[in-house]
Amino acid sequence: MQNSSTSEKPTYGLRHALGYLGKYPGQVCLSLGLLFLIIGLELLLPKIIGYWIDHMKMALSKGIAFNFLAVAALFLSLGFLREFLRYILGPTRNRLVHRSLSDIRVDFFDSLQRQGFPYHGKANTGDLISRATSDVRKLQGFFFACMFLSVDIVVSMLLTLCLIAWIDPWLGLLVVGTTIPTFLLVAWFSNKLGPQWGEVHRLRGRMTSVIQENITGVRVVKAFAKEKEEIGKFSHSRDALMAKALSAMDYWAARVPFAQFIYGLTLPLALGLGGYHVIEGKLLVGQLASVVFYIMSINHRMGSIGRFMNMVHEASAGATRILEVIHAPYELPNGARDFPPTGGDIVFENVSYSHTPDRKALSDISFTIPAGECVAVVGSTGAGKTTLVNLIPRFYDVSAGRVLIGGTDVREFRLQSLRQNIGVIFQESFLFSATVAENLAYGRPHATQEEIIESARAAQAHDFIEALPNGYNTVIGERGISLSGGQKQRIAIARAFLLNPRILILDDATASVDPRTEQKIQEAIRRLCADRTVFIIAHRHSTVTFASEVIVLDEGRLVEKGNHQELMQSNGFYRQLVDSQMQHDLISPS
């Protein structure tokens, strides 16, 4: 993922992720403040019950007057106050966390959009998406855990211990004596269990992919009559999951309830020891009751320690994966000059480019294309055709040499200005799931309806668009109807038309289209070529014929240049290429 040119690779962790919360100091303070207040109130309530019991006992045995209603009223109002604070805290801290996560996602998105083609060429879409979704979700858990759960656990447990010790040091010692081993056991078990659940998760993923693959490939399975084998494959992965899940669950059952049991010992032991102190007269029975209530309130926090450990563990890997993307260095420094409104000649000066250090994709290429010409780039697969044209809009930057437009190095232009003036039609016509009109206006969102229709007409797309259920407002893509390869290509061409760029780059795909559609596409391309500089990567040589200039590449080198007739006559590499294509693609001319 990282740019390989940077030698030392900075590591990002949870500390950096917490920085996102730090952007909202007011809300962080408010949330923590509320949390402390709530903990304080919670610790007061058992005290009140203890006070009530002691005074009630004295009232019963010694007849000392006791206004138990006043104590009950105090209890009720403190209880209400605590819940009111919780009611405020919940949404406050949720807003804080979601705002921070939103910031993280937006930064992530921003960083991805700025990364150049070399980055995206290496990156895997599924992986990036899982970073932005499941890893961010893990961070969400972590933010809650770190900001609130950890504070809640640590602060309230420490305060409770202090309070118990203050009431009766021996009882305090007892609680410390059971809490620490429980704490350590839970931490240890969750450390051991983590990888086991991870393995269960991995096996579940494997089973899911068996299911998915089976259903996506249903035609192949049926065609080869492999249903039995598929059931076997499924059962195999299911059994593996089952066995692992059961063993993990048995591991859990043999240990975690044991840790809870250890902590559970606190209560009977406190009852015995505390009771002894009460009988000896060192402790009031109400104080013992408060201790019992304190012990119970720690109990449910013990359960969340394991959860907390898991969250932190998961989140730290997730944070690294997210921040790695956010902080990935940008590869394209921006220039300052605006693109000349009239365009200009395109000059390649001793241009070389390599994707990997050991192999050059292009070496030492020089040529000049006067403004307004139509150039075809030909060569076999892997000759470097796409790489060559990608250097013009700076999808890649040259490794050596220069690419000039109107005498200016492309790297000196503002990236935005440069790309706005270059239209690109990629080999794969990527359309967005939106209406046809929105797709056409993708590069010029403010285009009028007339302009959109005009460009569709020019691209031979108007007729089929009109025939769609809602015409130009038909939603296409995943959410709507799917278009054929030829239709998609024509929409991509129309999209570029609407841009009316000074320079156009067209990677002519050999989509599987029937002859009639192919003819329409050819016609669209022909129109696109009028009055602008055009580079066409031609896969079918019929496209070449309307180019005024042909550039022939072989293994990253420029081997021939000239027009179709000249090159055919010179009997060189171009001639060979055309002939080999003729052999199996064409039927003898009639």
Binding site: I49, L60, L76, G90, S102, Q113, F224, S580
Partner: protein, 603 residues
């Protein structure tokens, strides 16, 4: 966001009343594990009783030995005995909990395993018409999400329900035995608690739905931007898209905060009810205690039992919700299990012997489930192909080429007419024996994860490595495979993503070659490759087609010109048939198509 994803989210939040038939059908799956089920129930009941005993012990200890000033030696002995009983109770409860978890998991997971296996098995049996009508995402979610939804209820729901209801009832009984008036007064908190839980579950579900929809929207916007990054950058849309993404994020955050607000209104409400309950005990209980009608230890026990109200009510609220969800899942699962495969082996059908490959279609009429009743997709198709011939099907999209193939492989069955192979009526033979002898290469070029070798032997797992290599050599793909990173042992990524379209196609050819089918079908198999690969494919095709009956569908007329018989289809009818030369001579549809094709490829 993709439409199907939205629908899946809707399915996820769907709730259905629990019907008796559903429960009975689920019970059928649990019954084989009734022993585990019984142990789970017994241990759950006992461990719940152990938990209920705690406050009672504290009360007895307080009242008997701590409140009265009697003989300290007796009191100390008494309190130590109470602690010891409490300890024993704890030990018992621990053992019961472990037993309960081990058995409930075994019962639930085994039953679910059986359900899931049945579903998967049934999907294998279903015919393609089901897959045409049902989106893949949905079918996957039957085996995947719906089972998970049942998991929650079958594995954890039973014990949670038992534990919660017993705790609630038990706590009430213990309270009633102490004092019925105070019990009644404390019970006042129950109705608002139950109503609040109901409201929270109802609105919470809707909030959850909204959150899921918004979060899947974030994913789809991001996914689209990443896959279309080249277009985004080429068209300089970065700023606009960033604004849009940020807006989608804000919408999500808004819904998430709303969901949190609901939760953080419900939880404090429970807290308020708990405070109210405690206050009732401290005030009314105080009044009763001051009159000597209730002991202080009993007050403490009341406070502890009150604490046992809240957990079970929350749990039962959640459980109620997930039970309705699981019931909806179960309905969908059983609906799938009840779907009969359209094409299946008939009673008395016999396996097809080793065939030589004569195929004939007799008066075939065919339409899909989705075709209007007054139309035929194939309208009176008649032809016969002799062993070893290559039949080419030509025609515009929708003319019925693929449908002929679909009938030949018996993916579908014709409404009228019959298909004979070597004189055997297909409808009287077994599916396995037919498909086992047919090889098909489609445009999809679907590969499975696994090694190249595993993919090549997919159809015939018994094929040895030598056989595979011999097939590859005959096809001319051996060199290409050796060129892969680890040759035949190269891992195929998901759906073969690490290979080019042409390589995938050649691998599919090799897979078909290894299968040694008697009849071979190529459906638009040659497209979208560079000239070099295409030459290789052409050669492979000739090798593949030799000595076996072949059916070819191709747009590129160059691939069909050597066929023994070319059939031109139009609107479900064969309008022309003959050899390349004959059809050119005829000067009809084929000749016209051919003229267009030549003009395009030759300038």
């Amino acid at each position: 966001m993709s439409f199907i994803e939205e629908q899946l989210i809707e399915e996820e939040v769907a709730r259905t009343a629990i019907r008796g038939t559903i429960v009975r059908r689920i019970w059928k799956y649990i019954r084989p594990y009734w022993k585990s089920c019984l142990i789970t129930i017994i241990s759950t009941i006992l461990s719940t009783l152990c938990d209920l005993l705690g406050p009672k012990l504290i009360q007895v200890g307080m009242d008997q030995f701590l409140m009265k000033i009697g003989d300290p030696v007796v009191a100390i002995r008494g309190i130590l005995i109470i602690s010891a009983i409490y300890l024993a109770n704890l030990l018992l409860s621990w053992g019961l909990t472990v037993t309960q978890i081990r058995h409930q998991v075994r019962m639930g997971w085994n039953a679910l395993n059986d359900i899931q296996t049945d579903v998967f098995r049934h999907i294998q049996a279903l015919s393609l018409n089901y897959f045409d009508k049902t989106h893949q995402g949905r079918i996957i979610s039957r085996v995947d999400y719906d089972i998970e939804a049942l998991d929650e209820v079958i594995v954890w729901g039973l014990t949670a329900l038992l534990n919660s209801s017993l705790t609630l009832i038990g706590a009430l009984i213990f309270m009633l035995r102490y004092d019925w008036r105070l019990s009644l007064a404390v019970s006042l908190v129950l109705p608002p608690l139950i109503y609040a839980t109901y409201l929270y579950q109802k609105h919470g579900l809707e909030a959850y739905r909204q959150i899921r929809l918004k979060s899947s929207r974030i994913t789809s916007v991001l996914a689209e931007n990443v896959s279309g990054i080249s277009v985004v950058q080429a068209m300089v849309r970065e700023e606009r898209n960033l604004r849009h993404f940020s807006q989608v994020n804000d919408e999500y955050a808004e819904k998430a905060v709303y969901g949190a607000t609901l939760f953080h209104t419900y939880m404090p409400f429970i807290g308020v009810m708990s405070a109210v309950g405690s206050t009732i005990i401290l005030s009314y209980g105080g009044y009763l205690a001051s009159r000597g009608e209730i002991t202080v230890g009993e007050i403490a026990a009341f406070l502890l039992y009150l604490g046992m109200f809240f957990g079970p009510i929350q749990t039962m609220g959640e459980l109620y919700n997930s039970a309705l969800g699981a019931s909806a899942s179960a309905e969908r699962i059983f609906a799938l299990l009840d779907t009969l495969p359209q094409v299946r082996d008939r009673k008395g059908s016999h396996p097809l012997p080793l065939i030589s490959g004569d195929v004939s279609f007799e008066h075939i009429h065919f339409r899909y489930d989705t075709t209007p009743m007054d139309q035929w997709i194939l309208d009176d198709i008649n032809f016969s192909a002799k062993q070893g011939q290559t039949i080419a099907l030509v025609g515009a999209t929708g003319s019925g080429k693929t449908s002929i193939i679909n009938l030949l492989t018996r993916f579908y069955e014709p409404q009228e007419g019959r298909i004979l192979i070597d004189g055997h009526d297909l409808s009287q033979t077994t599916l396995f024996s037919l498909r086992n002898q047919i090889g098909i290469v489609t445009q999809e070029n679907f590969l499975f994860t696994g090694t190249v070798l595993e993919n090549l032997t997919f159809a015939r797992p018994s094929a040895s490595r030598d056989e595979v290599e011999a097939s590859a050599k005959a096809l001319g793909t051996h060199e290409m495979i050796l060129g892969f990173e680890k040759g035949y042992d190269t891992e195929v990524g998901e759906r073969g993503a690490n290979f080019s379209a042409g390589q995938r196609q050649l691998l599919c050819f090799t897979r078909a070659m290894v299968a040694q089918p008697r009849i071979l079908i190529l459906d638009e198999a040659t497209s979208a490759v560079d000239p070099q690969t295409e030459a290789l494919i052409q050669h492979a095709l000739e090798v593949l087609m030799a000595n076996r009956t072949g059916f070819v569908i191709a747009h590129r007329l160059s691939t069909v010109r050597h066929a023994s018989l070319i059939m031109v289809l139009k609107s479900g009818k064969i309008i022309e048939s003959g050899t390349h030369a004959e059809l050119l001579q005829l000067g009809g549809e084929y000749a016209a198509l051919h003229r267009e094709f030549t003009r395009n490829s030759n300038t």
